[in-house]
Amino acid sequence: MELQANKKNIWREIWKARYIYLLLAPVVIYLLMFNYAPMYGIQIAFKDFKARLGIWGSEWVGLENFEKIFSTPTAIHAILNTLRISFGRLAFEFPMGIVIAVLLTEMPGKKVKKAYQTLFTFPHFLSWVVVGTLLRNFLASDGAINQLITSMGGESVRFLGTESLFRPMLYLTSNWKSMGWEAIIYMAAIAGIDTSLYEAAEIDGASRLQRIWHITLPGIKVTVVVMLILAVGGIMNSGFDQIFNLKNTMVYDAATTLDIYVYDLTFTGVPDYSFSTAVGLFKTIINLILMLTANKVTSMITGEKMFG
């Protein structure tokens, strides 16, 4: 009896929520059609894909494609290079948002501050195609910077065409485009700090530097930690858009990251769909583990989960 009543209740609940389902329908249909449906194609990572046989018709090869990742020097290089660039970004890009936020907070002059903020955040809203074209021209051997160097008697530098300079240029150009935008999150966190703390410190005679060190930085600590964990979670993505739009044949080694490697495997030379899908899947799985770990650690620190 009770069970039946419950069953009836459920149907009543569902009927009551009919409009909610209606509002939810478009996104669910989309997810099924365009996010879940393509997943059946992942099987080609375990197959020897032949276009003429199709996804279903191609022959199973087990884990052969995955074993190939670890016996292909370029694949291993791509993995290591991805990690190298990601750690470089953590060291040279991650702190810049905090630095800009603190500097902007301390800078006097409301109008100028506002203008700077507009300028600093603007490049973030341009695509890497635009920024890449712009900066490639600016840094070219006959570009403005090199003209300036040579006019002062120096020797022209191939900023984007030298293996050893390419990675530092990635950090530099990425900061150029995004550090102002990254700063906004920290500005918001700084704005949330209790102003009476600063007033009390001023009365106690604390210098500005002491106030930054003892109030501002501790005040944004949680935000910094959360952002850092997020950044670590995305360590397998090394910024495809940027590298793809800045790279050239002279910096093949420095520019080959996992994403670039998968792209090259798929669309240049003789395409190897199965192997490229295997490399992509390998990356996705490591990403998945990193992201879930990041989520767990963040929720432990803030008491709130990022993803539901």
Binding site: I10, E13, I20, L23, L24, P26, V27, L31, F34, N35, A37, P38, M39, G41, I42, I55, I100, V102, L103, L104, E106, M107, P108, T118, L119, T121, F122, F125, L126, S127, V129, V130, L134, N137, F138, A140, Q147, L148, W176, A188, A189, S207, R208, L209, I212, V226, F240, D241, F244, N245, T266, Y273, S276, T277, G280, L281, T284, N287, M291, F307
Partner: protein, 288 residues
């Protein structure tokens, strides 16, 4: 108010930020100057603050015969307008639905979250669009980035922040979920919707990666794609030393003219709408 003297930290921050501002500004300005410069003047003064010999030659070449710039503008406008409309409609509805309680909510939410971590990947996704016969259509460019999970999650929390009593009061008056959504909740979310509309528009305006693959080999194009292929074609021509430097226009000038024309719309609106852009990231940051 008496003017206080700046202390060393304030001076340091003002000086270093001014330097950074210059570093960010100069490449933009340099590009604009070069685009209005003649080839001869550029050869003599490659780095100047103002065009020495003002010309529209580079722009004329860019817009001259055989130019696909207008096609690209058309493509980008189509993708941006329809893409933004569709994405906003789907996301707002989903965001509201997920903020409510209903049987199966957990299941549907997990269905959404999984796509954030796991997907078909490059080749399976490409083959899927190919099998559906979507290659070479603007629809494919819109569809490939129609749902942004993070956006929906932020909208969900934004709807959740509105007190439940407001909805319940309307429900008692006999309103359905649909009416509550359209008449009560949407008007309250106008600032959030404005912010996300802007950011979605910029995202569609800047899309280039998937269009490269999906529109490849067709006559359809979008602005970013146009810029990329235009620049690489020009580079090839320069390397093959096909003559096209004719007194006024020159490769760098034409390239920078193209850059300028592609970024002009964003440049024109950004200073005025900046606060709406920034508001969005605040919402995201608070919810973290």
């Amino acid at each position: 108010m008496a003017k206080r003297r700046w202390d060393s930290v304030q001076i340091f921050s003002a000086v270093s930020l001014t330097l950074i501002a210059l570093v960010i500004f100069v490449p933009f300005w340099n590009a604009v100057v070069i685009s209005f410069e003649t080839a001869d003047a550029y050869a003599k003064h490659p780095f100047s603050w103002w065009p020495k010999e003002f010309t529209l030659g580079n722009y004329k070449y860019l817009l001259g015969k055989g130019s696909t710039l207008f096609e690209a503008y058309k493509g980008t406008i189509i993708v941006t307008v329809f893409g933004t409309l569709c994405e906003m409609a789907i996301s707002v509805m989903a965001g509201y639905a997920y903020s409510r309680q209903f049987p199966g909510k957990r299941f549907f939410f997990v269905l959404l979250l999984i796509t954030m971590f796991f997907g078909g990947g490059l080749v399976p996704t490409y083959l899927h669009y190919k099998n559906l016969g979507l290659l070479g259509t603007y629809a494919s460019v819109i569809l490939i980035s129609l749902v942004d999970v993070q956006k929906i999650i932020i909208m969900k929390s934004s709807f959740e922040s509105i007190p439940m009593e407001l909805q319940e009061a309307a429900m008692i008056d006999g309103a359905t979920d649909m009416t509550v959504f359209a008449k009560v909740m949407l008007p309250l979310q106008k600032p959030m919707i404005a912010t996300f509309t802007l950011r979605t528009m910029v995202a569609f305006w800047n899309t280039w990666y998937w269009p490269t693959l999906l529109l490849n080999g067709t006559n359809k194009t979008v602005l970013q794609l146009y810029l990329k292929s235009f620049v690489s074609n020009l580079d090839e021509e320069v390397q093959a030393s096909t003559v096209f430097v004719e007194g006024t226009q020159f490769a760098q000038g034409i390239k920078m003219a193209a850059v300028f024309i592609v970024m002009l719309p964003i440049m024109a609106v950004y200073p005025f709408l900046q606060k709406y852009f920034t508001k969005g990231i605040m919402v995201g940051a608070v919810k973290m």
